[in-house]
């Protein structure tokens, strides 16, 4: 046993995923902790370097253009896995399914009868005057009534049984390729570690995705539906993921220029002539989808595709107009949606949220900027947010002016004591804050979930920002298959 490697106990205020306050591992994680202590640091450094070489070799890069430097960047990968017990996962997956069902029913409702608004559960202006609400989708019937076929729900944890939903990503959530490749790389680097654990496999995700997409084929489609992945192309930051998913599903990866509309159907240009397309897993935003319907300057989209879509000649996943469920102000009402549509109590908690458009909330936010995280309602990727406790008084003052100018565009939440997990850094193991993005697949037939998700970790000490565009890293996420239900506590 090497004595220069130590699993640091987490700071007492933060819940650690691996280590209890007394420094002993949590139940179910003893094997990992023992391995971490035994593994020589030199070997781990070599493996960490190997992992980076593997990512670069496979070509899993995150493209950042226009900021100078290498445009093909690696997302930092940490070799210490994040473990979830079977009981914890069972609880989470129930909560996720419940939440995503309600989100889909909400989307169908706001584009049809608007019952939830008429019942007074959600303010009308919040929906109808929202930029993400697309009048083009009113009265359009999408196959199976499914709007968000692929949802990425960002979860954070503050205690053994306290999980909060931070965000619902219902448009084009990315990161699932990292979930799959992180596992691939970990299995190559540490086969012995897998021998000691029963880790639930994640590699069937592409099959589940394909099955979900096929289940929402348009009624006009007879026979096996032709599914394609639509990408903005090589220069998109998630291009690797687009190729990866198309490849694993065994479907074509197309760009806008490869598709055209004719006689109320969408076709792709192939060497053998035009071929009809039934389901498009599109990874481009609504705005760019159809220059005739939305942004006229978009060269990424397919002219006329919205007409075909509205007439039911092709399915788009996720549905157009789904961004309304992704909105940070609408987020506050998701628990209400669950009660309204499902008649159930929400299993997963929402983070208490203040919306600056409400007078009381506005006043509270302005008075407590040093305690709150403030976000733009329509923002994403960790851009344009204020982490109050970490900001300087000047930064807070500048941000307050922005809120004052446009209160409806901002929400605020208390800074949560995000859980940590030991992470391999230059001088050994150190706790770093993390979140979890499981991917929920919704088909016309059922909801599908692969055990795990993408764990994102803030690589800077004390940082709470895990977004890859802000320098966050990732970890492999393990859901243990057995032996843990006995130890798992309340959710068993």
């Amino acid at each position: 046993m090497s004595d220069n490697v130590q699993v640091n106990p987490a700071q007492p205020v933060f819940f650690d995923e691996l280590v209890q306050p007394d420094g002993r591992p949590r139940k179910g994680m003893e094997q990992l902790a023992e391995w971490m202590v035994q593994a020589p640091r030199d070997m781990l450094k070599v493996r960490q370097t190997e992992a980076e070489a593997l990512f670069r070799r496979i070509g899993i890069t995150f493209a950042v253009y226009g900021e100078g430097g290498d445009p093909e960047r690696l997302i930092p990968f940490d070799i210490v896995p994040r473990i979830l017990l079977a009981s914890e996962w069972a609880f989470l997956s129930k909560g996720l399914e419940q939440r995503v069902k309600a989100l889909n029913m909400f989307l169908h409702d706001v584009y049809h009868d608007r019952n939830i608004i008429q019942a007074g559960k959600i303010p009308e202006r919040l929906v109808l005057q929202n930029k993400a609400y697309l009048p083009e989708m009113r009265g359009v019937d999408v196959p199976g009534g499914i709007y968000t076929h692929i949802a990425g729900i960002d979860l954070v944890r503050t205690g053994p049984e306290e999980f909060y939903v931070l965000e619902d990503n219902t448009r084009t959530p990315s990161g699932v390729s990292y979930m799959l490749q992180n596992r691939e790389v970990m299995m190559r680097l540490f086969p012995d570690l897998f021998g000691r654990h029963q880790v639930a496999p994640v590699d069937r995700y592409p099959e589940e995705l394909l099955a979900s997409l096929q289940s929402v084929a348009p009624r006009t489609c007879d026979g096996e539906p032709t599914v394609v992945v639509l990408s903005p192309g090589l220069y998109n930051s998630a291009y690797y993921e687009h190729t990866f998913l198309a490849d694993k599903m065994g479907v074509e990866l197309v760009e806008g220029q490869d598709l055209f509309v004719k006689d109320n159907a969408v076709y792709m240009r192939t060497t053998g002539g035009p071929k009809r397309v039934d389901v498009i897993y599109r990874r481009i935003d609504d705005d760019f989808l159809d220059p005739l319907a939305f942004r006229a300057d978009s060269s990424l989209g397919v002219p006329g595709i919205m007409n075909v879509y509205r007439a039911g000649g092709v399915t788009l996943a996720n549905a157009v107009g789904g961004g309304i469920a992704d909105d940070k102000a609408i987020y506050m009402y998701v628990p209400e949606m669950i009660r309204f549509y499902l008649g159930e109590e929400p299993l997963l908690k929402n983070v208490p949220t203040y919306w600056c458009a409400e007078d009381d909330d506005y006043k509270y936010v302005m008075d407590h900027l040093d305690e709150l995280v403030v976000k733009e309602v329509a923002g994403s990727g960790g851009y344009g947010m204020l982490v109050g406790p970490k900001a300087t008084p000047d930064e807070r003052a500048a941000y307050a002016l922005r809120i004052q100018a446009n209160p409806t565009e901002f929400i605020a939440q208390p800074t949560l004591a995000l859980s940590t997990c030991p992470t391999f850094v230059a001088d050994g193991y150190a706790p770093r804050h993390l979140d979890l993005r499981p991917f929920v697949l919704v088909g016309a037939d059922k909801v599908r979930l692969v055990p795990g998700g993408l764990t994102r970790v803030a690589m800077q000490p004390g940082s709470l920002v895990v977004n890859s565009s802000q320098g966050g890293g990732t970890k492999d996420t393990w859901v243990l298959e057995n032996g843990s239900s006995k130890n798992g506590g309340a959710h068993a």
């Binding site: 074509e252 240009r269 060497t271």
Partner: protein, 316 residues
């Protein structure tokens, strides 16, 4: 298959083949420049003809004024402003591969990607005249590995056909150029074909297409220029000959057409070009003039490339 995908695969095949052939062309220039020129009483300067063979002469002269070892390394090896440099070929092949990763096996992608990373990370900074041969070997090895990954792991489907179509069309072009320029240099006009030839120089030409051993095996004879021409133009056994390359172009076009259940115009061009090679005799070629023959071939090969692009909608 998407037309855009087919175009990327085809160009990826062409550029990988071109990178390898450029390495071969530079190698032959280097070896020849190491030989004494008895008539001129000094060392040979083979570099201008290397630049011609690589179809880079004009650009090189414009940029550097003179073709020599250093300017050839710089312009044909490393210059990314020259679209026909090894640098540009490896980069373009990889960009095309990246655009169609789903059509490649992971072995193929990793082989191409590794090649680019090694080139960009090491050779681009370190390549000089004293490690030139090591670099050229490396390029040939990487091309061989890529081909091996393709042959060993790829489904025999449309993607495979388009990569090979590009590779063999490019190879026919490159072999014709090597032959044309070397004949021009080694057999200046007016010189009788039975005249004195420098064995080592012809051996170098053969070596540049990895055919020295094959020559001896087929002809069991010392090296004669017209037999070199016969080997590189007409021998079906020779994998870099024009007739072999065109037989493969024909074959892969046929595979694609069968898959689509129709026939294409480019098949007629390819079929005719191949048949003419197949039924030619080296004496006929000699009588009409080798240079004229090869010039015509290169033009027709270009036309074939254009017809292929047109038939499969490569230009969207």
């Amino acid at each position: 298959m998407l037309s855009r995908t087919a175009a990327s695969l085809y160009w990826m095949g062409r550029y990988m083949e071109r990178a390898e052939n450029l390495a071969r062309i530079i190698e032959v220039g280097y070896r020849m420049s190491q030989m004494p020129d008895l008539e001129a009483g000094g060392m040979r300067n083979e570099w201008p003809s290397s630049a011609v063979t690589a179809a880079c002469e004009e650009g090189l002269i414009e940029k550097h004024g003179v073709a020599n070892l250093d300017t050839v390394i710089s312009y044909i090896g490393l210059d990314d402003e020259n679209p026909s440099s090894i640098h540009s070929c490896l980069k373009t092949a990889r960009t095309n591969a990246r655009a169609v990763r789903t059509a490649l096996t992971s072995e193929m992608w990793e082989s191409l990607n590794d090649t680019w990373l090694e080139f960009n990370g090491q050779w681009l900074k370190s390549l000089k005249s004293d490690n030139l041969l090591g670099f050229l070997d490396w390029v040939k090895t990487r091309s061989t590995m890529f081909r091996g990954a393709m042959l060993g792991t790829m489904l025999r489907d449309e993607a495979f056909y388009f990569i090979n179509l590009g590779a063999f069309l490019e190879r026919a072009d490159n072999t014709a150029r090597i032959l044309d320029v070397k004949f021009h240099v080694l057999l200046p006009s007016g010189q009788d074909i039975g005249g004195s030839v420098d064995y080592y120089q012809w051996a170098t030409v053969l070596r540049s297409v990895s055919a020295l051993g094959s020559y001896h095996w087929i002809f069991r004879d010392t090296i004669h220029p017209w037999k070199v021409a016969e080997l590189l133009i007409l021998r079906k056994e020779m994998p870099r000959s024009l007739v072999y390359s065109l037989s493969q172009v024909n074959r892969f076009l046929g595979d694609i057409a069968n898959l689509h259940g129709r026939r294409y115009d480019c098949q007629r061009l390819a079929g005719r070009l191949h048949a003419e090679l197949d039924y030619s005799k080296v004496e006929d070629i000699y009588q009409n003039g080798l240079h004229e023959y090869l010039t015509t071939f290169l033009e027709r090969n270009d036309d074939l490339g254009a017809e292929i692009s047109d038939n499969f909608h490569f230009y969207l």
